[in-house]
Symmetry: C2
Subunit: 332 residues, 2 copies
């Protein structure tokens, strides 16, 4: 893959697709338009609450694709918040392709299949230990026609929340927002995608989840493409509503040194998950992605205290019990 060309911080191209090659009315075009809109909407909502502005870095690659990373650091409410979109044209090993499509297509050892991937991803870490960290990612993946097999496509994504303390009303609001979104598209989805989320964000060496979950879906292509696109768009359109009211409610809550310390320990768990288990992070680190965009998800600060044990019956102990039993939590 050629080196990315950095472009002006304030000038961003109207499309990261290949002009004159990719049809703007195709799913590629529609998906890029959706995620660019999500980036703009989420950044505007966070800036309004925070009072500080995001910086912007954008780059393109000569043969197509690129990214726009927007980051707010040391704001008034968030210590670090990032929202990144990217469009990638690449090739994958034929073996991985065969597994993905589930067809016994013959191939030569070094065959590679061209793919397109576009996505928006974000992590927001507030200063106040009573305000949760939030993460989302919505992505679309497509292979080109290859050896007579037509192009394949998949959607993936999810939004999940990582508080340091449990406020049941907040959790009902966050999960309730996404249950309502899911229910508009398929009444079986919320339960499945909540379980997927609790499975995905496990930190096996701790016997804990990273946070309090949300929804997570991957490799979704079991129905009409436009129907899944509508679902993905609806999920993305509800990010602000699911999260920002919770931050507004708590951003001025008083907190103790012990509560800040606990938040920092939980930030350490966030780092452990992302660096040891998160597929997207590890894939990015090991395949030469833009490091600063990949590690935008890291908190500004984190802490590892030896053998940190919350006091019995404390709010910290209750939180630990909840992340050890995420699958049992039914918020809505």
């Amino acid at each position: 893959m050629e080196a990315p060309q950095y472009i002006g911080k304030e000038e961003v191209p109207s499309t990261l697709l290949r002009p004159g090659i990719d049809d703007p009315d195709s799913m590629r075009g529609k998906f890029e338009h959706m995620i660019r809109g999500v980036q703009t909407q989420v950044v505007a909502a966070i800036e309004e609450v925070d009072g500080c502005t995001f910086r912007q870095d954008a780059w393109t690659r000569p043969s197509g694709g690129g990214g726009i990373t927007r980051v707010l650091q040391e704001g008034n409410v968030w210590e670090k918040a990032g929202v990144a979109v990217s469009v990638v044209y690449g090739t994958m090993p034929a073996e991985s392709y065969r597994v993905a499509v589930g067809k016994d297509v013959p191939f030569e050892k070094d065959d590679r299949v061209p793919f397109f991937a576009a996505g928006v991803s974000s992590v927001m870490h507030p200063w106040n230990p009573h305000c949760p960290t939030m993460h989302f990612n919505y992505r679309y993946f497509e292979t080109e026609e290859w050896k007579g097999i037509p192009g394949q496509w998949w959607f993936g994504g999810g939004t999940d929340i990582t508080p340091s303390y449990i406020d049941e009303e907040d959790m009902r609001h966050f999960h309730g927002t996404y249950k309502a979104v899911c229910d508009r598209h398929d009444p079986t989805w919320y339960d499945k995608m909540k379980t997927n989320c609790d499975d995905y964000f496990q930190i096996p060496h701790r016997g804990e989840t990273r946070g309090m979950g949300g929804i997570f879906f991957d490799d979704l292509n079991d129905r009409d493409q436009d129907a899944i696109f509508a679902f993905s768009s609806d999920c993305a359109a509800n990010i602000v509503e699911s999260y920002v009211p919770i931050v507004k409610k708590h951003k001025n809550d008083p907190y103790s040194a012990r509560q800040k310390e606990w938040q920092q320990v939980r930030r350490g768990r966030y780092v452990e998950f992302n660096l040891v288990y998160d597929r997207g992070t590890i894939f990015g680190l090991k395949t030469g992605g833009r490091i600063e965009s990949i590690l935008m998800s890291m908190p500004l600060t984190a802490s590892w205290r030896y053998d940190y044990q919350p006091e019995a019956q404390s709010t910290e102990a209750k939180f630990l019990d909840a992340v050890k039993n995420a699958h049992k939590q039914r918020w809505v």
Copy 2:
């Protein structure tokens, strides 16, 4: 493997070997005696400089083996310092064994080969950004006789240093101490082991080493067992001399907010290396080791700043240049 039995913080067994089974005069016995002594010696030297004391956690397993972890947290000089010894009786897959011994020994699919492993490991993170972090690990590995092949053995280890700023005199002292140790045993070793160390502590996604290196050796069994044991013991006996004078020299150095920030960014790199690449850490996390002993190596605090770029010509920029070119640094 059975659950470990935690034992009193102040009572530690005189041996972690299997009493009545393992001969105290065998290499197992000699190595355990050596690493226990190193733990005592290093802890005493650090306590003397710091003024605070290490806590102690010890455990044993009913069928043999155990560990003693000693940690000082939020001391006067060190934010976190840990020294752990462990003795493990386990079994490894026959396939891994065959690769390790390099012999085409026939085996059944689920065959496992009994092994013994003992080691001491340590990381020390000082508060002052002018005092380096230091890490060491010395280990001995032995397989039992299996399918007529006699027991095999290997030594591994090393000591390496991770400052946030380069003080050439310090680096000459640290590397010079280990060059002198190596030269006493084999004049070709320092160069080889310095290169091994720079290779091992690479963070490929950053194009940097974790720190300023030292020596590193693995699978060493190319000469008489007692000769390698003498080398390993000599390395371990020089930990305090290689490191403590550097900390004494700098522990009261004044530092700015920018220097502390830079140290925190470098701590983030330390975490990235340990969680993404360090074989011992990943092996421990994924095989159910005692998490608190494995992650004792994490700093108390770390930071990830988006796209942090030191000013040109600054001392931070010089450090970054050094970790991008570790192989070229010849300190002695």
